[in-house]
Symmetry: C2
Subunit: 381 residues, 2 copies
């Protein structure tokens, strides 16, 4: 598979004044400008958005049609925190159908105007009914996964803190990131407990933001900065119950989605030069590293400790700052990951540029890992 | 285009005890049984669902994976009340991509456990932010459309009442319908005013329910009852603002979506033998009849008065009972319409069977007509 990504747009992530419509419009316009296209050249539009409860808007396709002054086919898709990548995957299917030439994908979430009690309830609505009824939240579910990883592999709270420190450090170099704050391991270790062993700095934030990309069935230009393509994508949905999983320190859906993406692209984990993955909680970064095949099970913390996942390391992970520090406006996240990877492969990441990045990978997860979408990109020659 | 519909499932519509997961499972199982398939033979699943606020569940793909004990690609799509048809349209794209052979589509909504004040707020979230802020609800928006139709074409409250009476009469012959109540024109005319000129019997109901279909890229059988195909589909999204429309008594998105579906199928309005359309309010049935080309603008009420849209008439409309009397579990509606039309073309509708039905049409609308999806089906030879 080879589907060129010919346009990128990305708003600031953080506590923003703009409405959900304004955020979508801003990211879409930037992607169209980046591609040198007008909206008339787009054949279908996909929106990735998690919950209409945040923005009190449950007809986003029509809202976007209004903002863009168009009457295209517009589709909203949702699969919890993987909604952004799901929108991309649907656009891939649309392009491959031969029915559409250019597809615009926008991921968006406007979260920060919702009262915190309501926000907690909305987030919990992505979890299993059988687990919610016992008072589960995602913090507590990921805390269970962390404890299990600690018990099985000797991972420590300090290992998790290092991921938070790295991602915050990377975000300092990303002007669109939610947080620009240089934190230390001690800061992370002494932040308040959210769900033991996870503390404040182990958790991603509540953010507003949007990101957009344009996929095409043809190379509209030979310019180097447009010569990046999607070469593999895998999508797996498994049981919503974390308790159905044989090993709590695992995400089988990520492993299977990655296998599909590697197969489709003809690449292996060794080929990948730069990664954006779904660090909704720091423990997720470790588990996903293992499931994506970047190390053996239980060896991810060592890889972090050896500095291999830093921007200057062997396999930079979350150079954008990740969900932890760039922010996690839910529906935008999967698209934002792809914007970062395509920019890295274009060589446009300035201070946080990964040297000689040719192949990049994104991993976007929904719920406690029930939905996983892994996509692989190749830069120009 | 020719995509066989090889399986159908449909729960009872009404005030049901089953959870949203149980409803999806029940419709999916019935569709699989009808097709004589196992879940292992399905390659991708689409869920049409309007709002996660009704069921407090915003990761339906993972919930369905749990219920079906599968790890397929599962996608939830939404475009207000057209979510069910949108799921079908996405399945069509998936089939046409050549990446998937068999697609299962399930539409679902579980509405009746939500308090009425919350229900009103959830429904209003599908309307325009610029209209909601002035206190608009869908009843009031459709009331404006009705008033405009009255002023332009001389349509009356009695004309609307006749649609309600017809659809209730049809539902008496549909054991899966929400209401089994024989009403008179006087009952409808004297029911309480909701938003003048719309009264209680002009409005569709709050219902629970699910419906499912299976689309395939090949004829798996030559049995007559499976020999029904989708032969055209059009999808248009326009501005979310009713006030952006030049003529309040129109639905331009329906007209454009229908033109696309007719073009794709090579058929004209004259070829259609049976119709399911989106009578969320009785006035919508009249406006859609005109936009679908079944009569000139302003002539729909006359067609109803002449009895042409009765089951024994020239062009039976909503033999199932429609949204008005069959019920309107939002995400299920678009899929339910297709189940009815395919059953009609199979000749399986017993008491409400339309004689010699060869071509059928479904029209599913979102918001005040901003999203429109029109699909056309052909029966076996």
């Amino acid at each position: 598979m080879r589907i060129p990504i010919i346009g990128l747009g990305h708003t600031k992530f953080g506590v923003l004044k703009e409405s959900i419509g304004d955020l979508m419009l801003s990211a879409c316009k930037e992607a169209l400008e980046d591609a040198g296209m007008s909206i008339a050249e787009i054949d279908i539009i996909y929106i990735g958005n998690f919950s209409s409860r945040f923005s009190n808007q449950c007809h986003l396709p029509a809202l976007l049609a209004t903002m863009l002054k168009t009457n295209k086919e517009i589709v909203r898709v949702e699969s919890a925190c993987a909604s952004g990548s799901l929108a991309i995957k649907e656009a891939v299917i649309a392009i491959k159908s031969g029915m559409y030439q250019n597809a615009l994908v926008v991921g968006v979430e406007k979260m920060t105007e919702t009262p915190i009690e309501e926000t907690i309830a909305i987030l919990a609505s992505a979890a299993s009914p059988d687990e919610i009824k016992h008072g589960a939240t995602f913090s507590s579910l990921y805390a269970l996964m962390a404890k299990s990883h600690f018990n099985k592999y000797g991972t420590t709270e300090r290992d998790l803190a290092k991921i938070s420190v790295k991602n915050h450090k990377n975000a300092l170099k990303n002007k669109l990131a939610h947080f620009h704050k240089d934190i230390t391991i001690e800061d992370a270790l002494h932040s308040r407990v959210i769900a033991s062993p996870l503390k404040l700095y182990d958790c991603s934030a509540i953010s507003d933001g949007a990101a957009a990309i344009i996929l095409s069935n043809k190379d509209t230009t030979t310019e180097k900065h447009r010569n990046v393509s999607l070469v593999g994508i895998g999508h797996i949905v498994e049981s919503i119950n974390l308790t159905d999983r044989e090993n709590l320190a695992s995400m089988p859906a990520v492993k299977k989605a990655a296998e599909k993406a590697y197969l489709e692209s003809g690449l292996t984990p060794n080929d990948i030069d730069v990664v954006e993955l779904h660090d909704c909680f720091t423990i997720a970064e470790l588990i996903e590293m293992e499931e994506l095949g970047f190390c053996e099970k239980g060896m991810s913390a060592q890889m972090v400790n050896e500095g291999k996942t830093e921007i200057q390391g062997e396999l930079p992970i979350n150079p954008s700052g990740g969900l932890k520090a760039k922010g996690h406006p839910i529906g935008a996240t999967g698209v934002s990951q792809v914007v970062e990877i395509v920019k890295q492969l274009r060589g446009e990441c300035e201070e946080r540029q990964v040297v000689n990045a040719k192949f990049g990978l994104c991993c976007n997860v929904g719920g406690s890992g029930s939905t996983a979408i892994v996509s692989i990109f190749r830069g120009g020659e």
